[in-house]
């Protein structure tokens, strides 16, 4: 086992799949010589060749749409959207075609491709570099949408995404790209898409989060532990398909749920999770299912971001309030 951060784990997963399957190709903006602006594809062009890992013209719709063309003709493209806010020009391809080609052709053409997108705030970046667009994709029938929060999961989920016969949106929490190190197996393994993970079993409240918010919740849990509260933490990992079973079992046991997402509130993943809680565990509830999310505002530029980003203190406050409810 090697100790890796999230970036290294994703690079390792890409490297492994490029080695294993000649039909896997990697392209996007600056992913070739440069190795990606976050260095996720560093060294891959040198190792696998410029015909397999390369820079494309700077046009996100073209990147996504050509990947569909490749995927239906036998390749497995893994494309990169340089930043979350850069995916919007590609939305027509993703929403109108990539997600629908299997259904439209009754399974004659399938679209095995992965769209990697570094996402989320907290990195002091310009506008369009700090967005959390997962709800757009989760709301789009025909896609799978996953978000790892650890290096181990990142490699295993990326491999699962590349091997998946359907298109997968692979969101990478860029804020914790280098924040966590973990032992990651060098061999191939995959983590099934659609399964949440109970990171910490607990009795009094279920906290559901994903991506960079996991670490913030974990900090809040240290405070909660000091007060003697027992918190169950679920890493959702898959926005869609969503793991209804894990949510149900946990909330039936704890009777309380707090959902923490960096994404804006309205019509977001937290609303979806709370609907599931209401459908599945209504009679077990001891407190109103609650969400702590980003605001329905544009995520502010760095100087204002502190008001938007969710701190461990705020999370802890909600945990305590709900337990005492």
């Amino acid at each position: 086992m090697k100790v890796m951060n999230l970036v290294q784990a994703i690079t390792d997963g890409l490297d492994l799949m490029l080695t294993e399957d000649k039909n896997v190709i990697v392209y996007g903006e600056d992913v070739g010589v440069e190795g990606g602006v976050f260095r996720v594809t560093e060294g891959l062009q040198l190792k696998h060749g410029a015909d397999r890992v390369f820079d494309s013209p700077l046009a996100e719709s073209g990147i996504a749409g050509t990947a569909l063309g490749m995927a239906i003709s036998g390749l497995k493209p893994v494309i990169e959207m340089q930043f979350d806010g850069f995916v919007y020009p590609a939305m027509n391809q993703i929403l109108s075609h990539i997600s629908r080609f299997r259904n439209r052709t009754r399974g004659k053409f399938t679209v095995p491709m992965v769209i990697r997108i570094p996402y989320g705030g907290g990195i002091n970046a310009l506008e369009h570099h700090s967005e959390s667009p997962e709800a757009y994709f989760g709301h789009t029938p025909g896609l799978k949408v996953v978000i790892p929060s650890t290096p181990y999961d990142a490699k295993g989920m990326l491999i699962a995404a590349i091997e998946d016969p359907d298109p997968v949106i692979f969101l990478e929490p860029k804020r914790i790209y280098r924040a966590i190190k973990q032992e990651v197996p060098e061999e191939k393994y995959s983590i099934p898409i659609g399964k949440a993970k109970v990171l910490n079993p607990g009795e009094q409240i279920t906290v559901i989060a994903y991506g960079a918010m996991i670490r913030e919740v974990q900090k809040a849990m240290v405070m909660a532990k000091e007060k003697g509260y027992s918190v169950e933490l679920i890493d959702l990992r898959s926005i869609w398909p969503i793991d209804r079973d894990t949510i149900r079992e946990s909330v039936r046991k704890t009777g309380r749920v707090l959902v923490v997402t960096e994404a804006a509130q309205s019509f977001g993943p937290a609303a979806e999770i709370i609907s599931i809680v209401n459908e599945e565990a209504f009679l077990n509830l001891e407190a109103p299912p609650t969400r702590l999310t980003g605001f329905d505002t544009v995520i502010p530029l760095p100087l204002g971001e502190k008001y938007y980003m969710i701190s461990p203190q705020r999370i802890y406050g909600e945990i305590e309030r709900l337990i005492k409810y």
Partner: protein, 367 residues
């Protein structure tokens, strides 16, 4: 025969249109040779008549309420039949939606086409058509798929071209430009065909662009481009055949602007009298592709116009039977809504499907 020298003579910037026949079907080129055998040519004309007959029948099925909306092809058939003769089994066909004759040549069944426009995705299965993509509704978005396919053909070392269609309005879309650029940068063997039928629903070409023509848009991307008379079967056939060889040999894309006119409505829901004049319609009727090819054939004594009525009658019988087959298609099931979204139905979708099935079983119907 259209060749590299001809290409050089018809630079888009000079706004010259490649033509073999005049509006009456008379060959206007010197030292021109018919590019296919008499027999193949007669077949092509029959295909054209078949497309035209199908179109008339389809519009009437729609008027009878037996089919939902339908986009007629009337006036543009020479492009489709020429493409159909050139596109090979191993080639990819990336359509927009108004290319009926080329679809049939690729192996799509009429039954499937009718089924699609009757409102069933089963009509996009294209069971007998190799490498045939489905209708693309969002204008021009399919063109980037063709560029990706072209990349894949190079990568997989396959000798197969990709033919991508779009209308004149589509050349205003970003994806048109991205597709040309990606295909050029990637040396992708893609033939882009713009069917310039003068209108994007109701919007005339002069509202789309200040360019002197649409082929010129390829020049800046280093995509060899040419304007062709889309109502001239010979011109279309020669350029299509040239383009296919060119993209495979040169490993670069090619752009054809096929100048034509949509003589029918945009779709059966459209009323062209709102946006164009009968004078204009008559002017283009005089350039009709069927008329021109028929005149040529009659002149060469390859065709007896009196035999047409009988032929069209037999076409109608065949078309009717295809339509009836579409009407006999098994009923749309709940499973059809859910089962093609993913290779394996996710639990959440299985739950939703069961919910619907349970509801339907309690009300004993499909409401």
């Amino acid at each position: 025969m259209f060749d590299l020298k001809t290409l050089d003579k018809y630079k888009p910037i000079d706004n010259k249109m490649y033509q073999v026949m005049d509006d009456e079907g008379k060959v206007i080129l010197k030292n021109w040779q018919q590019p296919m055998s008499d027999e193949d040519l007669v077949d092509a004309f029959k295909d054209l008549l078949f497309e035209r007959t199908t179109d008339q029948m389809a519009v009437s099925y729609q008027r009878q309420g037996r089919m939902f909306t339908y986009p007629p092809n009337l006036g543009q058939e020479a492009i489709h039949i020429a493409a159909g003769k050139v596109i090979k089994n191993e080639d990819w066909f990336v359509p927009a939606f108004r290319e009926l004759g080329a679809w049939l040549a690729k192996g799509v069944s009429l039954r499937e086409i009718f089924l699609y426009f009757k409102g069933n995705e089963d009509g996009s299965r294209f069971e007998q058509a190799n490498r045939m993509l489905p209708v693309s509704v969002p204008i021009a978005s399919q063109l980037v798929h063709a560029a990706g396919i072209g990349f894949a053909m190079n990568y997989l070392k396959e000798e197969a071209a990709s033919f991508a269609f779009v209308g004149d309005g589509g050349t205003s879309e970003g994806d048109f430009h991205e597709a040309l650029n990606f295909a050029a940068v990637w040396n992708a063997p893609v033939v882009f065909v713009v069917q310039n039928n003068q209108f994007a629903i109701s919007v005339p070409l002069k509202m789309q662009t200040r360019s002197i023509n649409l082929a010129v848009k390829g020049v800046a991307y280093d995509v060899p481009s040419v304007v062709v008379d889309g109502n001239d079967f010979f011109a279309m056939y020669e350029v299509m055949a040239f383009a296919r060889e060119f993209v495979l040999k040169e490993k670069r894309p090619f752009l054809i602007e096929a100048r034509t006119y949509r003589r029918g409505a945009h779709t059966t829901s459209d009323d062209p009298t709102r946006y164009r004049t009968s004078e204009e319609e008559e002017m283009w009727a005089a350039k009709d592709p069927a008329k021109r090819l028929r005149n040529y054939l009659v002149e060469k004594k390859l065709w007896n116009p009196e035999s047409e009525e009988e032929l069209v009658k037999s076409f109608k019988k065949k078309i009717d039977s295809e339509f009836e087959a579409a009407e006999q298609h098994p009923e749309y099931r709940v499973d059809d809504v859910f089962d093609y979204m993913y290779e394996k139905l996710p639990d959440e979708l299985a739950r939703q499907k069961n919910m619907l099935k349970n509801y339907l079983s309690t009300v004993g119907g499909d409401k």
